[in-house]
């Protein structure tokens, strides 16, 4: 257990010490006050489950060419294929089952969104903590870069990164991290500036603990709640941004068909009235983003100590 003042334990504990039962329970009681947020949470759980179980539950492996039949191309939702199987969400131009395509697509979109979110959080939180803890020149330098970056819209930065790095799944993740880290840095710096002045940090320093230990073992856990809120919202942003880039044809390569690529693929059939190739992947994307945002909204209220009753 870190050295904490009693009033902070409650807010920090759900995130830092999930084993402590009562604050976690209390957190849940407060969270479920909003029914919409519970629906959002359920949505998130379902989507994560679908993404994890995609290979087991999807009717076909959409990227195993042996299972595709071009004769099944562009079937409407609910139509039966040549082998008698029903394509509930229709098929794309190559006879690929859209439902399977979407399940695999969610998997890729989520993986990219979460990976970039976690990496950005690690980078941003370290930078923000450094800025807050050391202050002075370090603070000015880091926060200048953050200010500068936040004054440009995400899509423009993403375009620059893509233009500079080129395409590929790793490069898109790097681009998303580069776009997002500043949000985490600014958030955690604000919290850390307040926490830094508290007695437990002073106590830890008096024990002659190393700077690294004070920052990461003592300061960081107490700055987590706002970081979690920003994290949820940013993951949703990352998923949307990746989908946008992929839709524009400058995101993921064709070998990693995320939801954005599926939508782009259906774009050309849109004008001939074949709506389902774009519509359903878009719906999946929408449900994913809305669910995460709803959870994030409620987390902000629950984890905000100022709103505590």
């Amino acid at each position: 257990m870190t050295v904490t003042t009693p009033d902070r334990v409650e807010t920090a504990a759900p995130a830092a010490e999930p084993t402590v039962v009562s604050p976690l329970r209390r957190f849940w009681i407060e969270f479920r006050e909003s029914k919409v947020a519970v629906v959002g949470l359920a949505g998130c759980v379902v989507i994560i489950a679908l993404a994890l179980l995609a290979p087991l539950i999807s009717p076909q492996n959409p990227y195993d060419l042996m299972q595709l039949d071009i004769m099944n191309g562009r079937l409407e939702p609910g139509e039966k294929g040549l082998d008698g199987q029903t394509f509930w969400l229709g098929t794309d131009d190559q006879g690929r089952d859209m439902l399977s395509g979407i399940l695999y697509g969610i998997r890729i979109s989520l993986a990219v969104g979460v990976a970039s979110g976690v990496l950005a959080m690690m980078l941003g939180a370290s930078m923000g903590l450094l800025a807050a803890y050391f202050g002075g020149r370090v603070d000015t330098l880091i926060m200048r870069v953050v200010d500068l970056q936040l004054s440009f819209p995400a899509i423009l930065l993403a375009l620059i990164m893509v233009a500079v790095l080129g395409q590929g799944i790793d490069k898109i993740i790097i681009a998303l991290v580069a776009v997002q880290w500043a949000y985490y840095a600014r958030t955690i710096r604000g919290t850390a500036l307040v926490e830094r002045r508290k007695e437990y940090i002073e106590a830890a320093r008096c024990l002659a603990l190393s700077d690294g230990r004070v920052v990461f073992r003592h300061l960081l856990p107490n700055c987590l709640p706002p970081l979690i809120v920003v994290g949820t919202v940013q993951v949703a942003h990352a998923i949307a941004l990746e989908a946008t880039l992929s839709f524009l044809g400058i995101g993921l390569p064709i070998t990693e068909p995320s939801l954005g690529l599926l939508i782009a693929n259906g774009f050309e059939y849109m004008l001939s009235g074949k709506y389902w190739i774009s519509f359903f992947p878009g719906l999946a994307l929408l449900v994913t983003i809305v669910s995460i945002n709803l959870v994030g909204d409620q987390l902000r209220d629950v984890l905000n100590p100022r709103l505590r009753k």
């Binding site: 004054s151 440009f152 819209p153 423009l156 620059i160 233009a163 500079v164 946008t244 009235g273 945002n293």
Partner: protein
């Protein structure tokens, strides 16, 4: 004020320089335009002549200095693909993008402020809640997907509005605009609405928050105690105070609307700067990429500066001296 301006301008020049360096080095390090631009059937002499004409034989730092020297004089290189000056290419496309951005801004203000005021005035009514739910949706809906759905409904199924292009344009001051013709408006409506959606959600939230905050303030009580009508209190007294944050944010967002136009332009085949940059990235047309990014970055720096100044004019409590950046 003068000190503030000078400091901001110097900062702007530094930012521009750093950005140009990052973009140039980054963009020129990927791919090899020689392979793309020179036909594989060209013989060795033709190849070398083309490399020399494009300046690709020089070491990278030298290419950068040549580029910088020319950039100062307004020459941002020639497009590999179009063989026209990159700057000219972008300036030519700029009116289309600006027109789209301004129309989108207009729609989001005209729709967003009344809705936001209503939601703030009656936060617990059905209407107020519906507006807020709508704004969450507006934030969450991926722009490009909404664009596709708009095309599907209004262009394909209903056939009311065209789905691509700018339609009839009118030449004003040497630039082409669609907003002056009816046909142009029918082309503009869908993309502008698509682009406006996200900002509309933002305006609704800002206005609602401002409304709720201001309604509790003493000056509102005082105005009511004076016996002013609710309409006057809201549309004259409260409105003025709500507008400060809304104007600031909208000013800052104008830039982001221009940047996000990339997506809308691609969907609706709107021949603006955004479509140009996507095409250029795909073709590795490096002078155009660099020129686009530099122009957009400069645009941002100017917009941010203007908003900062406007802010201090609108709200005398903000002292420019106190603003660090």
């Amino acid at each position: 004020m003068t000190v503030f301006l000078i400091r901001r301008l110097m900062q702007a020049v530094v930012v521009l320089f750093v950005m140009s360096l990052i973009v140039f080095v980054g963009v020129y390090a990927i791919g090899n335009p020689i392979d793309i631009l020179i036909s594989p059937e060209a013989d060795q002499i033709e190849r070398e002549r083309a490399i020399e004409a494009l300046g690709l034989h020089l070491p990278m730092w030298e290419q950068y200095f040549v580029f910088l020297q020319r950039a100062v004089t307004g020459d941002l290189g020639r497009s590999f693909a179009f063989s026209t000056p990159a700057l000219e290419l972008i300036v030519e496309r700029m009116p289309a993008t600006l027109e789209l951005a301004v129309a989108a801004m207009g729609i989001s203000i005209l729709v967003g402020i009344p809705l936001g005021m209503w939601a703030g005035f009656r936060p617990d009514s059905v209407g107020g809640r519906a507006i807020m739910a709508g704004s969450i949706l507006g934030f969450s809906l991926p722009t490009f997907w909404v664009g596709l759905m708009l095309i599907m409904v209004f262009a394909v199924h209903l056939g009311w509005l065209p789905s691509t292009g700018r339609g009839q344009t009118v030449e004003v001051l040497g630039m082409h605009f669609s907003i002056f013709t009816l046909n142009g408006w029918t082309h503009l409506l869908l993309p502008a609405f698509n682009l406006a959606l996200f900002k509309m959600a933002l305006v609704i939230r800002l206005t609602r928050a401002g409304m709720r905050e201001n309604l509790l303030m003493d000056y509102v009580k005082f105005a009511r105690a004076k016996g002013l009508s609710t309409g006057r209190v809201i549309f004259v007294h409260v409105m003025k105070n709500i507008m400060i944050p809304v104007v600031t944010i909208l000013g800052l967002e104008l830039g982001s609307v221009i940047a996000f136009a990339v997506v809308t332009e691609t969907i609706f085949s709107w021949p603006g700067m955004g479509k140009l940059i996507i095409d250029s990235i795909n073709q590795l047309d490096r002078p155009v990429i660099v020129a686009y990014l530099l122009i957009t970055v400069s645009m941002f720096i100017v917009i941010n500066l203007v908003v900062d100044i406007l802010y201090s004019v609108l709200d005398p409590r903000v002292l420019l001296k106190e603003m660090k950046s």
